[in-house]
């Protein structure tokens, strides 16, 4: 439904992909762990390698959880699709786009 207005009401999205140039926003979410009160937001280069991306989010934020070090490995989702990112691939190569969300949870043993 359009906005009712007295003129043609059309504006560019404030946070559209082009505003971020060679970077994208990526959200990250630890499934079943509400200790982190919401998913997190990261501005990262599109061609950042996967290992650097998870190095950053784990190093800065998720490693703060005392249970983090007990985790042996992670199961990954892009939106709600399971996926198997390899460390050396870039975010773009893995199919991530501006405002993608990646979700993760510990592999049970």
């Amino acid at each position: 439904m359009p906005v009712k207005a007295l003129y043609n009401y059309k504006f560019p999205p404030r946070d559209r992909a082009e505003v971020f140039g060679d970077d994208i926003l990526v959200y990250a979410y630890w499934i079943d762990n509400p200790f982190f009160c919401a998913a997190s937001t990261w501005r990262v280069p599109k061609n950042m390698k996967w290992k650097d991306f998870i190095g950053q989010i784990f190093g800065q934020l998720y490693g703060l959880d005392p249970d983090f070090k007990k985790v042996k490995g992670w199961k990954w989702y892009h939106f709600d699709q399971e996926f198997n990112p390899s460390d050396e691939k870039t975010l773009t190569e893995l199919g991530l786009r501006h405002k993608s969300i990646v979700k993760f949870k510990p592999i049970e043993k």
């Binding site: 200790f35 998913a39 937001t41 005392p66």
Partner: protein, 512 residues
């Protein structure tokens, strides 16, 4: 023969109708350019009944009396060093949120009602909106005066308007009201007078203000009740406007219903901040969020108001059931968010004391111990390099595109996870905290694609006092831009706590 005194109704009729006139050399459409584009159809403005019948004379008389009473109480409190007799300085953090988040909305309401008072073609509602515009300015003033006393002694009160336009959690109330004032006059009045004032302000101005009284803050109680007494008049206006529009034309019914659906959810999300204030920030508590929701929303609004509106073809708001389902989670979710990001806030938070956790467990027997208590236990272990012996979320959260709150609202059907929704619109992705916010976006995507989301703005470099010198300088530059000085971090490492202990060191009532 003595002249007969006019009755209230006669006086009011003469006052509002007698002074209106039909234009002769300008068209009505030119005088009221916003009257039609929203699609609302009015057949006869004279069908408007004024429930309050307030004349200007009575208005000045009673408003002046309300102000006199308020200032007498405020002066007494100041002369008596009343701030020292509060239950605990922790209490004031709820008032910081109030002054930063709500008071600027009072000012916006003043502007919004001035707009409505100018642009509604009916003289009756125009007069009521004019009074309300003045009321809202009075609310702003008495709240600022009450806060200015606390500002002499405590952090967090020094920069409310500056902060309101910038700080991340204040974009929640700011964007709410900006949404309302950028709508037409009929949507605005349905949003604010009806949905907000009739349904939601009770939660803020009645049980919360009672809590202020209980914690020894008589000025806040007095401005709260004084403002809410005007609010009674505003509620009447809201209800009357909605009933009038519904009776004027059947085509108005679906438009009003859509506005009620939208503004219930917008207002309810905003009011979730009050839930955290009531359940966590009042050292002495009157009523839980859940209890006040049941009394003021489920009984008064659903059992009362909406049963009354059924005959007009109006049903309860679309996402009301989700609000009911969330009532045992909401305040805990929001306080946990505020707690997590206190390093970037102009108020303090703290781990609830053991007896406070017991109160929470008693009031929320099905959720607090099960889903929330363990987080505070873990927060004591998960320390960061920042001041305060506890956890902070060292990062930036994902925000909802519509309500702008970090997306941390528990899914009652899967209580270890938050509700997350998204849509793709014209090639871009948007995320939402709830079906309610997603639905609002889908009604008017063109409006919400423009949202000024604090997290994204920080990442675009729009929120720094000076360009950061390195990664460690990012947060300090944002705080400087916010004008947050010693206002942040845990209560127990704050200036407020240090001063409070100092001021009470010879007293037996010292709170540790």
């Amino acid at each position: 023969m003595a002249k007969k005194k006019l009755t209230l109704a006669q006086k009011y009729h003469i006052y509002t109708r007698g002074l209106d006139w039909e234009p002769t050399y300008v068209s009505k459409k030119d005088i009221y350019p916003y009257a039609e584009y929203e699609g609302i159809k009015i057949k006869d403005w004279n069908k408007w009944e004024d429930p309050f019948r307030m004349t200007v004379e009575a208005y000045w008389k009673y408003q002046a009396e309300k102000d006199r009473r308020f200032y007498a109480i405020l002066d007494g409190f100041i002369q008596n060093q009343g701030h020292l007799t509060l239950s605990d300085a922790r209490y004031l953090n709820s008032i910081k949120l109030f002054i930063q988040g709500v008071t600027p909305l009072e000012y916006m309401a003043h502007r919004g009602f001035a707009f409505v008072a100018r642009h509604l073609p009916g003289p009756g509602p125009r007069t009521a909106a004019f009074f309300q515009s003045m009321d809202e300015l009075r609310h702003t003033q008495i709240e600022v005066h009450a806060a200015s006393n606390f500002n002499k002694y405590y952090d967090g009160f020094h920069s409310m308007t500056h902060m309101h336009d910038r700080v991340w959690y204040l974009s929640v109330p700011k964007s709410y009201f900006d949404d309302a004032v950028t709508a037409g006059p009929f949507e605005y009045i349905t949003a604010i007078s009806f949905s907000f004032e009739y349904a939601l302000t009770n939660l803020l101005f009645v049980p919360f203000m009672s809590g202020a009284a209980y914690n020894g803050d008589t000025p806040t109680m007095t401005f709260g009740f004084s403002a809410q007494s005007d609010e009674s008049r505003h509620m009447t206006l809201g209800l009357q406007v909605v009933k009038f529009l519904l009776e004027q034309h059947e085509d108005n019914v679906p438009i009003i219903q859509r506005w009620i659906d939208k503004w219930w959810w917008r207002g309810y999300r905003l009011t979730s901040l009050v839930g955290a204030m009531m359940d966590y920030m009042l050292p002495k508590r009157v009523m839980s969020w859940k209890e006040s929701f049941e009394l003021y929303i489920e009984d008064q609004i659903l059992e009362g108001l909406f049963r009354d509106l059924e005959r007009y073809g109006i049903r309860p708001p679309l996402h009301m059931n989700q609000s009911i389902k969330e009532k045992e989670f909401l305040s805990h979710d929001v306080y946990w968010i505020l707690f997590s990001f206190t390093f970037a806030a102009a108020f303090h938070s703290w781990i609830p004391k053991e007896e406070e956790m017991e109160w929470l467990a008693e009031k929320y027997p099905r959720t607090f111990n099960q889903y929330y208590r363990w987080r505070y236990e873990k927060a004591k272990e998960a320390k960061t390099p920042l001041p305060g012996d506890r956890f902070y979320y060292i990062g930036l959260p994902q925000l909802c595109q519509v309500c702008q709150i970090p997306m941390g609202f528990t899914n009652p059907d899967d209580p270890n996870n938050f509700v997350q929704r998204y849509v793709e619109y014209e090639g871009e992705i948007y995320h939402f905290c709830s079906d309610g916010c997603k639905w609002i976006f889908e009604q008017e995507p063109e409006k919400y694609v423009q949202a000024w989301l604090p997290v994204h703005e920080i990442y675009k470099g729009n929120c720094f006092a000076e360009p950061p010198k390195g990664p460690d300088d990012v947060v300090p530059q944002v705080l400087k831009w916010y004008n947050i000085q010693t206002d942040n971090f845990d209560y127990f490492v704050s200036e407020d706590y240090k001063n409070w202990k100092e001021w009470h060191k010879d007293m037996a009532t010292v709170v540790v």
